[in-house]
């Protein structure tokens, strides 16, 4: 069974390219441009893992994370952070994210985290 990934990031070029790369690696990936549409997708269909950018216009990543936790408490979330501070990353972990990565990211790192996240 393919792992279904939801990518939430406002940077479309980034998120679509990453989605394509994940497809190549055998994942099924869906993209959302902001927190609200991402949450709507989660409500509509099941995902195995969510990759969530922390810094977005409108609803930011941490807020989105809180709501994801309410909708689907067991859905693993990997955070992406655009800046060097680990503070938000740590905050996200506290709120239940499984891990965080810094942009730009090495695909190998992401793969590793994904494996860990979906492992039973």
């Amino acid at each position: 069974m393919t792992t279904r990934i939801l990518l939430i990031d406002d940077e479309i070029e980034f998120v679509t390219t990453l989605a394509e790369r994940l497809e190549i690696r055998g994942f099924s990936s869906t993209t959302a441009e902001d927190g609200e549409s991402g949450l709507a997708l989660i409500r509509k269909q099941p995902f195995d893992v969510v990759i969530l950018d922390l810094l977005m216009p409108g609803m930011n990543g941490l807020e989105a994370l809180k709501q994801i936790r309410q909708i689907s408490p067991n859905l693993p979330v990997i955070l992406l952070t655009g800046h060097g501070s680990t503070r938000e990353g740590m905050e996200g972990m506290r709120l239940g994210a499984v891990d965080y990565l810094m942009k730009p990211l090495a695909i190998e790192d992401l793969m590793e985290k994904l494996q860990e996240a979906v492992a039973p």
């Binding site: 940077e11 070029e13 980034f14 790369r21 216009p57 655009g82 800046h83 060097g84 730009p104 990211l105």
Partner: protein, 593 residues
């Protein structure tokens, strides 16, 4: 009027400016504080000593003048009283002789017995009378009572005879009698019933003069005497000659009033000379008082004042020099403190503004970088999946190069962001030696490869401190990377840990590398200042500085071009409270996305 007023204002203003100029200017020159000290000392000495000296001199002369006039008046009074006594004495004798001349007829006085009787009465009643003589109109001495045989002597040619005929009475100057005793003569002229001149003459010795002079009660150094109008001494003078000798001291005669002058006597003594002329005789009474006696109190005061002046002068100079020294030292210290504070402030401001800018730039660049990274990654993925095509290997290398460059950019942007936000601090008790060991572990391979002489001098007794492990690793990694960059292959780098004098720990990282110039050393902690050209971001030491500050420590550097550099880091046993509470830059404001 207005123009003059303006001119005056300008002059005053210029004066104030020029005084200001004395104490300022050239603040950066090395001699500034020395000049300041000198100028303050000179100015303070001038404004204190000049008025003091002026007042001292003024007082001195004022007092001298005052004292002199105070002394002159009593002296003049003494002279006047003495003269008066002498006048009384003469008047008394003269009226006695006049009484005889009036009470007796010429014929009665020709009787020798009567004359002797009179002389006896005078001697017993008044004293001082030596003889009595009666002289007729021709100048012949016709009757005489006394110790000498003068009968028949003619006095017609004598000056005293001439004068008594003119004036009616006469008091002579002193002369030596036959017995070498100084005398004076008192003569009174009368007419007989027939209208012929006759004269009665008494000789008086001058003993009474000395009695009168003695009543003045003068000090042994003073002198009082009588002189005639032609400056012949009429009494013995202590200093200026014997009776009938010319006075060695020139006495201004010809005056009938009393006056006091200051003069120098033939012996060179400064004296106050009081002179008083007689009306009844051609005498001048002179009192000479040495000024040293008169002015003794003045001289005493003069020396007292001089001592006080000298002492206060010394005290003033000492205090001025001492106080100015202290003052200028304080000024210098406060200047230095201000300068240090200013540098610190400027540095902090520079750090924070550059940090903010860097964070903005880094964040904006980070997103496109992520896109480039993913696109290149995707290209790689696609090429991997595709079959063989021309330049496939070349393309793969190119995309790898892109990804590699992005990775380098990422390092820079993450550092910039880290610099701006300074990673979160997590305080935990830790051993500084462990951290140094770990960091050295990172660099071990490079040091072996470059054959560096690594020395670790770790004080194993160091107590644990509370600090941030990750950030300290960063700090020492930065310092050691710099040290490695500074030394040649085969050079030596040593790391030493020890207790800090003010508590906590101190770590030195020392290399024997190229060192740096003073100019470089000055900017070593500035952001974006790098000597590594393309290989450095210029942020390493700046971040290090920021971290150490945040952890409540200090970092200092000493360097010598060509000899090496030593960094010294001190860390407190406990971090400052604001760091524990999340750091001074604990803010969640993010740059615009």
């Amino acid at each position: 009027m207005t123009a003059q007023w303006k001119d005056a204002m300008w002059t005053i203003r210029n004066l104030i400016f020029s005084i200001d100029g004395l104490f300022s200017g050239g603040e950066n020159s090395p001699g500034h504080y020395r000049n300041l000290t000198r100028n303050i000392i000179i100015t303070m000495l001038v404004v204190t000593i000049v008025p003091l000296t002026a007042m001292g001199i003024l007082n001195h002369f004022q007092y001298g003048r005052h004292l002199r006039s105070e002394l002159i008046t009593p002296l003049a009074n003494t002279a006047r009283k003495a003269t008066h006594s002498f006048e009384l004495f003469f008047e008394e004798r003269l009226s006695t002789v006049r009484f005889i001349a009036n009470a007796y007829e010429y014929e009665d006085l020709l009787d020798n017995q009567t004359l002797h009787q009179l002389l006896r009465v005078l001697k017993s009643e008044q004293g001082g009378f030596v003889d009595l003589a009666v002289i007729n109109g021709e100048g012949d001495l016709v009757n005489y009572a006394g110790p000498y045989n003068l009968l028949g002597k003619n006095y017609a040619s004598q000056r005293s005879y001439q004068e008594v005929l003119v004036k009616g009475s006469y008091i002579s100057n002193v002369f030596m009698g036959h017995r070498k005793i100084p005398h004076i003569v008192i003569a009174v002229q009368r007419y007989t019933d027939e209208g012929a001149n006759w004269i009665i003459r008494a000789t008086i010795d001058t003993d009474r003069f000395y009695k009168l002079l003695g009543t003045l009660g003068l000090s042994p150094k003073s002198d009082a005497f009588l002189v005639s109008s032609d400056n012949i001494l009429q009494t013995d003078s202590t200093f200026y000659g014997k009776t009938l000798e010319p006075s060695r001291l020139e006495i201004p005669t010809g005056t009938r009033s009393t006056f006091v002058t200051e003069t120098t006597d033939p012996d060179g003594r400064q004296i106050l000379l009081a002179c008083s002329g007689f009306t009844s005789a051609n005498y001048v009474l002179a009192i000479a008082k040495p000024r040293s006696v008169v002015m003794r109190s003045w001289y005493a005061m003069k020396s007292d004042a001089l001592v006080i002046y000298a002492v206060s002068l010394l005290v003033i100079i000492f205090m001025v020099v001492k106080m100015t020294g202290t003052l200028v030292r304080r000024i210098k210290e406060s200047d230095e403190r201000r300068e240090t504070a200013m540098t610190e402030l400027q540095h902090t401001q520079k750090l924070s503004s550059i940090g903010r800018l860097a964070a903005g730039v880094a964040h904006e660049i980070n997103n496109p970088l992520a896109i480039i990274n993913e696109k290149a990654g995707l290209m790689n993925d696609l090429m991997g999946a595709a079959g063989d095509f021309p330049h496939k290997d070349r393309m793969a290398k190119l995309t790898e190069a892109i990804i590699g460059s992005v990775s380098r950019c990422k390092t820079i942007t993450h550092r910039l962001l880290g610099f701006a936000r300074k990673l979160d601090t997590v305080m935990e008790p830790l051993s500084i030696n462990d951290i140094l060991d770990e960091v050295m572990g990172f660099l071990e391979r490079e040091s072996i490869y470059r054959q560096l002489d690594m020395r670790l001098n770790l004080d194993q007794t160091l107590a644990p401190i509370s600090s941030d492990r990750g950030q300290l690793q960063q700090v020492f990694l930065n310092l050691l990377t710099n040290a490695f960059a500074a030394v040649e292959d085969g050079g030596s780098v040593s790391v030493t840990s020890m207790p800090a004098p003010e508590g906590g720990v101190a770590v030195t990282v020392q290399d024997n590398g190229c060192g740096m110039s003073e100019e470089v050393a000055k900017h070593i902690f500035d952001p974006f200042f790098s000597t590594k050209k393309e290989n450095g971001t210029g942020l390493g030491l700046s971040i290090t500085y920021g971290i150490i500050k945040k952890l409540g420590g200090t970092i200092t550097m000493s360097t010598r071009q060509g000899e090496g550099t030593t960094f010294t880091v001190t860390l407190p046993a406990q971090p400052p409270t604001d760091t524990i509470n999340g750091g001074p830059d604990h803010d969640h404001t993010h740059p615009a996305h």
